[in-house]
């Protein structure tokens, strides 16, 4: 029991720490950018006393984008944590498994057939995009699950099949990308590697309820995740309907990553790295792990976005690129250590 108490203490410390750090980062990120706004002016603008220009920059550009960052970060991180738990594979990630690519292809098809251009997305389109991303993600996950099924799901086979499906979607994406005009081609390419675009309040208002609804569902199933981790036989013995619960959890993970892709493109590795670091700190009890993972994901994505926006100004490096540059080496390190 002592160990559990110590863990709980650690949990509260981590949560508090991450909240404080994220808040600080949030404030710093509000100040930074192509247009710099001093902290005092930020405060003034927040309470409605700033200049019109500051108001525009903060409320119409920065805030929605940063809120999307927090949501997507949490969504992808929790999605990764669930996938790792369900597949009992440390290296599972919605990007590597091809779920993001499925959502990406679906969105590209949607834009290609119904919107005409990446820049002229109608308001109805904004509402429909998360739906299409979700459909794509679910189709991809279903494909991977079915193709990897062979008297059960073997984690290694699942990953390999995911990589194959991923490159299949990649080829299909290229075919449609090449049919777009050159400007859209580049934009689609950047978006597919992870970019928070179309950051406006409409998007935020659609995505916030979706992700905020899914996160508690995942948390509610934390206990099931713990038991699934013990192995199928033990889980069945403890009265869990293994296949049903596994499918439900997979669906939650897929939906989280699908919605995240709709807003942030195919950000890879975040769903892998955030749960890993969280697990190092807090252990693998999912009741503690999931909240820490979610916060950490938010923090990391906001950090990556802040770096991408400011490191090489005026060039804005898409957030997915920053995440990949920092996480891929970590992933390689994990890969080399894993047996």
């Amino acid at each position: 029991m002592n160990g559990w108490k110590a863990k709980q203490k650690k949990f509260y410390v981590s949560i508090t720490f991450l909240t404080i750090v994220t808040t600080i980062l949030f404030i710093i990120s509000l100040n930074l950018g192509v247009v710099r706004i001093a902290p005092l002016d930020v405060l003034k603008t927040m309470i409605g006393m700033g200049t019109a220009r500051d108001h525009l920059v903060l409320f119409d550009f920065r805030l929605p984008r940063m809120i999307l960052c927090l949501l997507i970060g949490a969504g992808l991180a929790v999605s990764g944590a669930i996938l790792q738990g369900v597949t009992k594979n440390e290296l599972a990630d919605p990007g590597i498994l091809g779920i993001n690519a499925g959502a990406g292809l679906s969105v590209i098809l949607f834009i290609y057939f119904f919107q005409g251009s990446m820049n002229s997305i109608s308001s109805l389109g904004i509402f429909l995009m998360p739906l299409f991303a979700l459909i794509g993600a679910v189709v991809a996950a279903f494909l991977i699950y079915v193709l990897a099924w062979k008297k059960g799901i073997d984690p290694v086979r699942l990953i390999l099949v995911g990589i194959g499906v991923n490159s299949g979607f990649g080829a299909a994406i290229v075919i449609f990308q090449l049919k777009m005009n050159p400007q859209d081609f580049m934009q689609a390419a950047v978006w597919l590697s992870g970019d928070i675009w179309g950051a406006n309040w409409k998007f935020v208002s659609i995505l916030t309820p979706l992700i905020l609804l899914l996160l508690p569902i995942a948390y509610y199933k934390a206990h099931t995740l713990n038991i699934l981790n013990l192995g199928d036989q033990v889980a069945t013995g403890l009265g869990i309907n293994v296949e049903k619960d596994r499918r439900f959890l997979l669906l939650v993970a897929v939906a989280l990553s699908g919605f995240s892709v709709a807003a942030g493109g195919g950000i890879a590795f975040l769903g892998l790295v955030a749960p890993h670091i969280a697990k190092k700190v807090i252990g693998s009890k999912h009741q503690l792990l999931l909240p820490v993972t979610a916060l950490l994901g938010s923090f990391l994505l906001l950090l990556a976005d802040t770096i991408g926006k400011n490191l090489l100004t005026p060039t804005q490096i898409p957030v997915g690129i920053v995440v990949a540059i920092f996480s891929a080496p970590y992933f390689i390190f994990l890969l080399m250590k894993a047996k």
């Binding site: 290296l91 590597i96 193709l147 990897a148 062979k150 290694v156 086979r157 990953i159 390999l160 099949v161 990589i163 194959g164 499906v165 991923n166 490159s167 299949g168 990649g170 080829a171 299909a172 290229v174 075919i175 090449l178 049919k179 050159p182 081609f185 580049m186 390419a189 950047v190 590697s193 890879a268 590795f269 090489l312 060039t315 804005q316 490096i317 898409p318 997915g320 690129i321 920053v322 990949a324 540059i325 891929a328 080496p329 992933f331 390689i332 890969l335 080399m336 250590k337 894993a338 047996k339």
Partner: protein, 353 residues
């Protein structure tokens, strides 16, 4: 996971018997001769097919009595011939490169496309375009050559230095990781230095821009690579039985492996520098070849070359036909063939090398 040493030993016994070895030689020779005839025919088809209508007889005339006055002869000589020959050579090089990789690593998933080759080449191109904007076409080719080698070396290094060695999953994951790392860095550089536009052209490239200079590069690098591959083919057969077996038979495994890596670098570097992202040929063809002819690399290598060349020249014709007058990237066509095959291998349906 995928390997079962007993299978190899048993197969080894069978190969020892003279009768079967004679049968294999006959079969191999037949495939080589037939494949070669088919390739010549497909090259003719590839040259004849296109926006300007050219008949097969005209193709033959352009080869036998070239007349610079005729537009059709010029089209054939300047555009279509190098493209068709380039397709055959790129396909051959990629297939042999895949065969050598699979033999060396004893890994059924080893192939240029999943080992960071394309992203490595793209990375080198971006760096070159960004820092030496005035670079010549030959310089760019050389850069993508080096980049492709860099990508493969990184993946092989990660595989070699990781715990538990180079398993299929590790190789695939290392390829994904290195690929995304390199492409992330190149995208960042490309966006910052505004060379992004020239890059999208390259990604879409395929075989469209093949010319006689590319053929020269392919002949030079490919020729050396293929000869070297044939030279070590016997040793690869033995190495593919296992490191211990190979050492037990008194082989210098380090030397064989180093030469093998050199072959892979030469072949993939040349192929990628000419044709860009053409995936899965190096994965699919060696497996098909092994299925037909067995595990003797003295046969696997030449037959892979012939079948790989045939596949790519046909895929290129198909890529031009499927959505004419627009071209579909040939890499997408090979992926459509290759992905199901990859999934089949990933499911572990066909074990052994």
């Amino acid at each position: 996971l995928f390997l079962n040493d007993n299978d190899f030993r048993q197969e080894g016994h069978y190969i020892d018997s003279k009768k079967i070895s004679l049968k294999i030689s006959l079969k191999g020779t037949l495939i080589l001769v037939f494949g070669f005839i088919l390739i010549i025919f497909s090259i003719g088809l590839s040259i004849a097919y296109g926006a300007a209508d050219i008949r097969l007889t005209t193709v033959w005339e352009a080869v036998s009595h070239f007349n610079p006055e005729l537009t059709s002869h010029q089209i054939i000589n300047e555009i279509r011939m190098p493209r068709a020959i380039g397709a055959v050579m790129v396909g051959a090089l990629l297939a042999v490169s895949g065969a050598v990789m699979q033999g060396l690593t004893r890994n059924p998933l080893a192939s240029p496309s999943i080992m960071g080759v394309t992203d490595g080449a793209a990375f080198a191109l971006v760096v070159t375009l960004a820092f030496l904007p005035a670079v010549s076409i030959v310089g760019l080719t050389f850069a993508s050559f080096l980049g492709a080698g860099f990508g493969v070396s990184l993946v092989l290094m990660i595989g070699t230095f990781s715990k538990g060695g180079l398993t299929p999953v590790k190789l695939a994951l290392a390829g994904v990781a290195v690929g995304s790392l390199l492409s992330a860095i190149s995208t960042a550089i490309a966006l910052h230095t505004q060379v992004a536009k020239s890059m999208s052209f390259w990604y879409a490239g395929g075989l469209t821009s093949t010319n006689w200079t590319s053929i020269k590069i392919l002949i030079l690098a490919g020729g050396i690579g293929l000869l070297l591959a044939m030279y070590i083919s016997r040793s690869i057969t033995i190495l593919s039985l296992g490191e211990e077996v190979s050492k037990g038979l008194g082989q210098n495994t380090f030397l064989v492996k180093s030469l093998g890596v050199l072959v892979v670098l030469l072949l993939t570097g040349a192929a990628v520098s000419v044709a860009g992202a053409v995936g899965f040929i190096g994965l699919v063809i060696p497996h098909i070849t092994r299925f037909i002819i067995g595990s003797d690399y003295r046969w696997i290598i030449p037959i892979s070359a012939v079948l790989g060349g045939l596949l790519l020249v046909l895929a290129d014709i198909f890529a031009r036909m499927v959505n004419a007058p627009y071209e579909t990237p040939v890499g997408a066509i090979t992926a459509i063939i290759g992905v199901p095959f990859f999934l089949y291998l990933a499911r572990g349906e066909r074990r052994g090398l």
